[in-house]
Amino acid sequence: MGGCPNLRQTTMVKSDFGYNSKVEGEVIVTRADAVVNWVRSHSVWPMPMGLACCAIELMGAGGSRFDISRFGMEVMRFSPRQADCMIVAGTVTYKMAEVVRRIYDQMAEPKWVVAMGACASTGGMYRSYATLQGVDNIVPVDIYISGCPPRPEALLDGMMLLQEKIRQEGGSLKRTFRGRTVETKIVR
C-alpha cells in the first residue's frame, strides 16, 4: 500500500469546485471507504501470471514506452504474498489450473484478477482436451481484456477499468480488518 496522502494539501482546491476553504477550514470530509479505495486503486501491485504470448505484451506494458507506472502499478511482484492483482496472461491448461488457483489462494486480501487476452478469458483458440476454457472457471475474474494478444494499450485500459472498479467497492475496511481470507464464491 502506498503512503498515506497528505490530505491538507487537497484543501488548496479553489472554490470553483464547490468547496470553500474559508468556511470549512482545512478539513475535508469523505467516506473511509472512498479514501481506502482511492489509495488501493493507485498502488496495485500486479502478480504477472505469464503463461503464453500475452506475457510478452505484459512485459511491453511494463516497459518505458507504455509506462504502467503512470497508474501506480509498476511494482510487479513474483511472489503472491506481495501482490494484490493477478494478471493471468496466457493459456491456462488444466495442468496449470491447479497452480493458478493455489497462487491465487496465497495472495492476501484484498485481491483482484485480470484475465488478459482470449485464452485466459475463454480458452481462446485452444478448444482442446488440454485447455481450461476460461480462467473464470477456477478464480473470480474482475476484468476481461479482449485481444490475441491484447496490445499494451488494451492492458492499460483494462487496468484503468480495474482502478475504477476498486474505487467503487464497498466495505473496504471491513474486508481488510476482518483479518482472514474472505470466502470467494464463483458464480457459474
Binding site: 488444466y94 495442468k95 489450473a97 491447479e98 488457483r101 493455489r102 480458452g123 483458440m125 485452444y126 478448444r127 482442446s128 482436451y129 488440454a130 485447455t131 481450461l132 476454457q133 472457471n137 477456477i138 464463483i186 457459474r188
Partner: protein, 195 residues
C-alpha cells in the same frame, strides 16, 4: 550411406519408399543395435526427432519414427519401428535427447519404451487416464476430475469437453476427410449450452 550397409548387417531391416530421405523399417529387437551402429560407425550422431504414430488399422497399431542426422556427412535417415504389444525399446541410453521425446510418445499414444529411465507422462498430469493423440480420442476431450482434488472441491470444476463449433479445427460445411471426425465433438456449443 548405402542401404546395403544396414540391410546386410541387420537382415530383418527393410527399405521403405520415401520421397525425402532413406527410410527403413527396423525390427524392434534390432532397434538399439541399429541406432548404435548408425551413431558409432556411420556418423549419425544427432537424434533429430522421435515421435509416435497411430496407424489405426494396421498391426501392430502403433509405431515409432526416428530421424537421425549425421552432422559430418550432412545426411538424414529415418527409422520406422512397429510397437509390438505397444512396446518399443528405448534409445535414450544412446541419445539422451530421446528421453523427453519418448515420454511424449508414451503420454500421447501409450507406447511403452522398454528400458526408459523415467517412464512418466510429460505433458498431461500423471493420473490422466487417456492418451490424447490416439485416433479414437475426441479432440474436445473426455470429462475427468481436475488433477488437484482440493481445487476441484472449491471450484466445482472438472476437465470437461471443449466446445468445437466455430473453432479452428472444424471445417465449415461438413468434414473434409475421414481423419477429421475427432474434431466433430460438439458436446456443448452456442446452440446447445453447457449442462
Amino acid at each position: 550411406m548405402e542401404a546395403a550397409v544396414l540391410t546386410d548387417r541387420f537382415p530383418r531391416t527393410q527399405v521403405l519408399a520415401s520421397q525425402d530421405m532413406p527410410t527403413y523399417q527396423v525390427a524392434g529387437e534390432d532397434l538399439v543395435e541399429t541406432v548404435r551402429f548408425l551413431r558409432d560407425a556411420q556418423g549419425f550422431d544427432l537424434l533429430a526427432d522421435l515421435c509416435g504414430i497411430d496407424w489405426k488399422d494396421r498391426t501392430p497399431r502403433f509405431g515409432v519414427v526416428i530421424h537421425l542426422l549425421s552432422t559430418t556427412h550432412k545426411e538424414y535417415v529415418r527409422l520406422h519401428v512397429g510397437a509390438v504389444n505397444d512396446a518399443v525399446p528405448s534409445v535414450s541410453s544412446l541419445h539422451p535427447g530421446a528421453n523427453w521425446h519418448e515420454r511424449e510418445a508414451f503420454d500421447m499414444f501409450g507406447i511403452r519404451f522398454e528400458g526408459h529411465p523415467d517412464p512418466r507422462r510429460i505433458l498431461m498430469w500423471d493420473a490422466y487416464p487417456y492418451h490424447p493423440l490416439r485416433k479414437e480420442f475426441p479432440l474436445a476431450g473426455i470429462e475427468v476430475p481436475l488433477p488437484a482434488a482440493d481445487v476441484a472441491e472449491v471450484t466445482g470444476q472438472t476437465v470437461e469437453p471443449a466446445p468445437m463449433m466455430g473453432g479452428p479445427f472444424v471445417s465449415p460445411g461438413g468434414k473434409m476427410s475421414e481423419g477429421e471426425p475427432s474434431a466433430l465433438d460438439q458436446s456443448w456449443n452456442e446452440e446447445k449450452p453447457k449442462a
